[in-house]
């Protein structure tokens, strides 16, 4: 898995710097898009995955699902920060200012706030099972508002943000090379997300097992 990731990373990097022609209107700035779009996509994916595991936890009450849900949210937060920063850098380079509350910038900020609120909620509840149940419900609700923020609202208002890949006409207005490189980058980020999820989940399970063994537990006495 690591090899695939490494290979993809190298391939995408090479393509971005050597193969990609400048995009019309944006010039070489389109290179940031190859970073920004996949990362933004994964930050939305983070919500979806988190909500999926949250719903499974609510149904089955298996603590593992709760761990998976929380890990997805953690990674989603990381990718969301990356998306915000890369977007701001792009805005500065393309239009002169880091932040002007463009609808897309507003959306990504709200996404960040939602992830932050999820964490606040998890930290505030002490009892384990209640914490899991409460954050699962919140995760499901958050995921239901995300489509409004990301897909619907920014399309209704005028935005400087370049038109998204999945636009109304259903066609992809992009150079073929760019599309391939972008697809590669999206694959890379998605695979990275799932790979890191698996690592983090295993780490948390191991950490929990260690904590359980380390603490002095009162054992039953068989009579």
């Amino acid at each position: 898995m690591l090899i695939i990731l490494g290979a993809l990373l190298l391939a995408v990097n090479y393509a971005v710097f050597y193969l990609l022609p400048p995009m019309e209107g944006l010039g070489y700035l389109s290179r940031i898009a190859v970073l920004h779009i996949p990362v933004a996509w994964v930050s939305v994916l983070g919500f979806a995955v988190s909500a999926f595991w949250a719903l499974r936890y609510l149904r089955k009450n298996n603590r593992l699902y709760d761990i998976k849900s929380a890990v997805a949210a953690t990674l989603g937060l990381g990718f969301c920060i990356a998306a915000t920063v890369s977007g701001a850098i792009f805005a500065r380079l393309a239009w002169g200012s880091f932040w002007n509350w463009d609808p897309r910038q507003t959306s990504i900020t709200i996404l960040l706030l939602t992830y932050y609120a999820y964490y606040g909620l998890r930290l505030a509840v002490e009892h384990e099972e209640t914490k899991a149940r409460v954050s699962a419900v919140y995760s499901v609700m958050a995921a239901s508002t995300v489509p409004f923020l990301v897909f619907i609202m920014p399309r209704q208002q005028f935005s400087l943000h370049p038109s998204p890949v999945i636009n109304q006409a259903g066609k992809i207005h992009m150079d073929i090379v760019f599309s391939i490189v972008l697809a590669g980058a999206i694959c890379f980020c998605t695979l990275l997300f799932f790979y890191m999820s698996r690592l983090l989940v295993q780490k948390r399970i191991a950490g929990r097992k260690n904590a359980e063994q380390a603490s002095p537990r009162e054992e039953g006495v068989k009579i």
């Binding site: 939602t114 932050y116 505030a124 002490e126 409460v134 923020l149 619907i152």
Partner: protein
């Protein structure tokens, strides 16, 4: 024997009656919200000292005050139950759907009251000239319903947490942002007399429906 108001075969109506009577008898939420609205509007009015507000500013202020009044008063439905140890009793005697639904209805009525009050205060202190009453009322209605439903669910989550009331506002705000952005825009249009953007009204209705669907989905785990 005196007449008993709590006479019904429907659990929802029973719990609703209980909420309204409890509120009437100690007026905890009402007074907090009333105080909040009045203080906010008067302090803004004093600070502005008669200078005019643009329609956009008025609309934004209106919704901010409604939102924060909601944050002040809507958490009560669950936080007082948790503090008084009555929530577990309810859970034993009653199904979760009835509990949540009765609280949603109560909060919607309460928030509608807040919204009307705030609009009246605005009319008194600022020049609130509504050019499109239909749009104005529909927006307030849809916005308030959505806000009340989300707030009730968040109240049930925040009640489980120890600590400050601030958590309730923090978890509510991001979820309500799409709603707030849309309703402020629609209200501005109604104040300006500009025709409504149909897409936005659809978004509002869609949001409310989506929230209702999610509520039905998660209600048993609240």
């Amino acid at each position: 024997m005196h007449r008993l108001f709590l006479h019904s075969s429907s659990p929802v109506l029973l719990l609703l009656a209980k909420e309204f009577v409890s509120e009437y008898r100690n007026r905890y939420a009402c007074s907090v919200i009333l105080a909040f609205s009045v203080i906010t509007v008067t302090s803004i009015s004093i600070s502005l000292a008669n200078s005019a507000l643009s329609e956009e500013t008025e609309s934004v202020l209106l919704w901010i005050i409604i939102f924060f009044s909601a944050m002040a008063g809507l958490g009560r439905v669950y936080s007082t139950e948790k503090d008084n140890n009555t929530l577990s009793t309810l859970r034993i005697y009653c199904c979760p759907q009835a509990i949540v639904f009765s609280k949603i209805v109560f909060n919607t009525v309460l928030l509608l009251g807040i919204a009307c009050l705030t609009v009246l205060l605005f009319a008194a202190f600022f020049t609130l000239r509504v050019k499109d009453w239909v749009l104005f009322t529909v927006t307030i209605w849809l916005g308030v319903s959505g806000m009340a439903v989300v707030s009730t669910l968040m109240a049930s989550l925040a009640a489980e947490a120890r600590g400050t009331h601030a958590l309730f506002t923090v978890i509510n705000f991001p979820l309500l942002m799409p709603l707030l952005l849309t309703v402020t825009d629609l209200t501005t249009r109604s104040l300006q007399g500009v025709p409504a953007d149909f897409d936005q009204v659809c978004l509002l209705i869609g949001f409310d429906l989506m929230i209702a669907a999610v509520t039905i989905l998660v209600v048993e785990w609240l």
